[in-house]
Symmetry: C2
Subunit: 107 residues, 2 copies
Amino acid sequence: MPDRSDDLFRAMADPTRRRVLDLLAEHGTLTVSELAAHFPDLVASGISKHLMALRAAGLVTATREGRHQRYAIDADTMAEAMAPWVARYEAYWSGALARLRDAATDA
Amino acid sequence: MPDRSDDLFRAMADPTRRRVLDLLAEHGTLTVSELAAHFPDLVASGISKHLMALRAAGLVTATREGRHQRYAIDADTMAEAMAPWVARYEAYWSGALARLRDAATDA
DNA sequence: GCGACGTCTTACCGTACGGTAATGCATTAC
DNA sequence: GTAATGCATTACCGTACGGTAAGACGTCGC
């Protein structure tokens, strides 16, 4: 298996795809039309295309559900692809992450 | 200040720029020619262009040193831009990160 | 001063990407 | 069966991006 970080970072370069991942992380699973409802400026096929890119990168998985297609984050791929990078730069953001947690607990 | 995550992820979409960041993280600071030595397939101005992109994203800082230009990672920007994203998906990669640490200690 | 060096800048080119529109292919409703 | 729905796929277009090449600018050695 080749290094997938290239596909991963390229897939996350687009803000629409990052928002799709955010929506999936928040709702667990979503269909294409449910996702498309959050993007009024985009045509449905555009969302489908982005989902294809995310599938190609291995970041999401799709399961048929009647005539719908239900998408979810592929936790394993996300983890294995991100962990090395996160670990490498941990020293740079660990402080900010701690501050973020403090701010959350203070609120 | 607008959301900088767009510039950040776009800057990291290119594998050359990610490798530049890796080299800076490893060596601390490097000049353009020192960096260019690691990329035999690229012309020097190409490296400079990538560095400009990284500077525009706020990921690196440059300080003059005679006729050289010494680059270093901007830890603050890196941290503040990445921390929210890392925190959001922490559940997905925390397990893999722990396994990565275990593997490192086993070795 | 002058020339060599290091870097930035600009112009240019090919390709890849995001977007829409149109078509095809299942599945559901009637 | 027929029509409508949901999604994938293809073709196409404009733009942005990565790359090189050439020139401009400041700095060092002489």
